[in-house]
Amino acid sequence: MPGLICTHSHIGGTGAADGSSPIQPGVRVMDSINVRDSGFRRALAGGLTTLNIMPGSGHLISGQTVYCKLRYYETSPRVIDEILIRDKNGTPAGGLKMANGTNSQGDSPFPGTRGKSAYLVREQYIKAREYQAKIVAANSDATKMPPRDLHLESLVEAMQGKRIVHHHTHRHDDIMTVIRLSQEFGFQVVLHHVSEGWKVAKEIADAKISCSIIVLDSPGGKLEAKDMTFSNGRVLDEAGVKVAFHTDDWITDSRLFMRSAALAVRAGMNRDKAIAGLTLAGAEMLGLSDRIGSLTVGKDADLAILNGDPLSVYSHVQETWVEGKKAFDLSKPEDLLYAEGGVNAGSDIDPFLCCFAPAWQGGAK
């Protein structure tokens, strides 16, 4: 089958925006990624070949995401540049991470309410619009150009369709807020997590917006995710919404990515749509479907080779190929180690716990 595409991963670290401000669109996650993170090898063991590595979600706008190919062969990449996916101009491809709901709320200067969150985002996009207007008015006259602003530049790219917004959102009303903002400012958006997507599936479909969903073994962990259900994929798909899955690795393990689709099928989702949710649908949500996501002549030779039904617990990835080269081989002891775990298979960096450190440290108290 085509190499799997994870539309939302945190392998290698998520250190883009810092705690100084809730809106930092100019910060790039590619400047922080540890390419030696063993998570990349484990992702290959799960049949993954492409990742959208995201910062966040502790900010309204936490920075630029980066699309990576897992070019981990016998010799591992030494620097991030070796795994980037570049566009025709050689620019690293990526989106823009945004979030709403409770993760991006906090003490000042972070917003304390949903209303304030939306206001802060609108204010920035309006600034970006005005910034763009100045650039247009300057008409390439360097003396008239506004000072370059990396943050606003990133938002302009989003409004111009050069950068897809990947938006963390859970609750039904937060989902509607994202749709409202995307329509006001004309940015292309993919909804991520979308725990309550099933409650507003028709509205999402009407807005022609895609959903990258997470499938977790149980609901809860926070109020926003209380109504999460295995049925989310089925309901959204039946309403006409394009659905992809994501690992949110380290939230779920990339080695078990196919399980997300299987649990959606368990709840009635069409099998072919669920498989597409691991492959082609994800490619489309990253704007890369001309290169990856299906076994089509001319596309990148990214493959996952399995010994059985991808939706069965008993099936295992045997080999993973990236751009025509073997990057994972279960029959090799070093690759088996990443597939099964054990000493030296674990991550060499701690996960970035942006939003739930208190709970992690022993409960909400």
């Binding site: 149980s218 674990g346 409960g363």
Partner: protein
């Protein structure tokens, strides 16, 4: 699950009566194409007859007598209700806010006196959630994260109060040997060495108190005359304190009361004051409770074993991500492992976690069960069925995977006479499926506890 239509009305009645134990139950009969008994035997086309909450008969369909007026339910597969050998469900709630988080109390590193009984919420949504996949018994309680966080209990996943749900109160005390138990700055424990020193000091303190109490209860002949009166006085005071206890010592009581009025206390040594903290630890020393030690790193596993040997106590190794590195030591110490969920995240102290650990423990014949464990964020609770399935896909035999969530945890917890397998005389706790229970796309279609259908929610 298919309820035979002619019996549908009676099934609804059975559901309506599900919490009324005083009414004799209508017999419930489960028929499945495959009955996994967890005794090493699987019955093709099997029938399980449940009467008055117990399994009355089990065997091939057609060879087992079906009682009159029985409700008959049918499914592809039936197996014993599962047991989660280590969870915090019911203390740690779905919202993960103060309101529903009673799994950890951080005011002190050593609080063995905290009872799970006083914190467990049987109506917690997560309890209902895991039940809907076939989990019928949970060993739940205080979470990892403090050196000694509190006690655990065993309950059925049913009932409106803990009294209805309870199987065993105070089954174990939860302790944690890990970085997460350490405090920052000048608070203790701040190191692994200090963690062990504090645990050892606590057990020594409890040992000494036990010695003192034993000496009072059974004074040596030479001291008997000197302590005789005070001994009686102690008993009296104890029974006064606990007013609801029996009055069997009434004859002594009147005399003693007179004595205390005489206020000749200078002649009467102080009674041994009750100490809830040490009483709990003494129960571990007496073998009445196990010490559940969460230990992932190999050196913490070694420390746990060392503690067990020094104080001759029963411990369970909890989580134990490095267990695959310590097989000979665990085997030699004769310790059971409450193994971390197969899908536990391979980071931090679990960085050496392996999908193969369950199969390695099995090969070494070390008793183990796969746990749901404690989750601080998402997923807020794990389903042992899913965790065993991953183990089955990674080297653990199918039967062993089923046992790891049924009879194995029952044996470790000491409740194997009640639950854990489908055998005549055991509690009628069953989980019904529309296919291979371990497969991703199979559904749990019915859950039966004490002979009653308690869930038909399909997820």
């Amino acid at each position: 699950m298919i309820l035979r239509k002619k019996h549908l009305a009676s099934a609804i009645i059975a559901l309506a009566l599900c919490c009324n134990y005083s009414v004799a139950q209508q017999p419930l009969v489960v028929q499945a194409k495959k009955v996994i008994t967890a005794t090493g035997q699987t019955i093709e086309n099997g029938t399980v007859v449940c009467v008055d909450g117990k399994i009355k008969a089990i065997g091939k369909t057609g060879e087992v007598t079906i009682p009159e007026k029985a409700t008959i339910v049918q499914s592809e597969v039936a197996m014993p209700g599962m047991i989660d050998v280590r969870t915090c469900a019911g203390l740690s709630g779905i919202l993960n806010v103060d309101h529903d988080s009673d799994h950890i109390e951080s005011s002190s590193p050593l609080q063995p006196e905290l009872r799970a009984l006083d914190a467990y919420n049987p109506r917690e949504e997560l309890v209902e959630y895991i039940r809907s996949f076939g989990v019928t018994t949970i060993h739940t309680g205080h979470a990892p994260g403090e050196l000694m966080s509190g006690q655990t209990l065993i309950a059925k996943t049913v009932g409106n109060s803990i009294e209805e749900a309870l199987l065993v109160d105070g089954r174990a005390i939860a302790a944690t040997l890990a970085e997460s138990s350490s405090k920052s700055g000048k608070s203790s424990p701040g190191t692994r060495g200090k963690q062990m020193a504090m645990l050892r000091a606590l057990f020594i303190e409890a040992t000494e108190l036990q010695t003192k109490i034993d000496a009072k209860a059974n004074p040596k002949p030479a001291e008997k005359s000197a302590t005789d009166k005070s001994d009686k006085s102690d008993k009296s005071k104890d029974s006064d304190k606990s007013k609801d206890s029996d009055k069997s010592k009434d004859s002594d009581k009147s005399k003693d009361s007179d004595k205390s009025k005489d206020s000749d206390k200078e002649k009467t040594p102080e009674p041994v004051a009750r100490n809830l903290r040490l009483e709990a630890v003494m129960q571990v020393l007496a073998g009445k409770k196990a010490l559940l030690i969460t230990a992932d790193r190999a050196q913490d596993i070694a420390s746990a074993i060392r503690l067990a040997e020094e104080f001759k106590i029963q411990i369970w190794l909890d989580s134990a991500a490095d267990a695959h590195l310590m097989i000979p030591q665990i085997k030699a110490a004769g310790i059971s492992v409450l193994l971390h969920p197969s899908m536990a995240r391979a980071s931090g102290e679990k960085e050496n976690q392996s999908f193969l650990t369950a199969s390695k423990l099995r090969a070494a014949q070390i008793p183990f069960a796969i746990q749901g464990g404690f989750e601080p964020y998402v997923p807020k609770v794990r389903v042992v069925l899913f965790e065993a399935a991953i183990a089955a896909a990674h080297g653990l035999s199918y039967d062993a995977a089923i046992e790891s969530i049924t009879i194995s945890p029952a044996r470790i917890l000491g409740i194997q006479d009640r639950v854990g397998s489908l055998e005549v005389g055991k509690d009628a706790d069953l989980a019904l499926y529309d296919g291979d229970p371990l497969e991703y796309t199979t559904h749990c279609v019915g859950v039966i506890i004490n002979g009653k259908i308690v869930s038909t929610t399909v997820r």
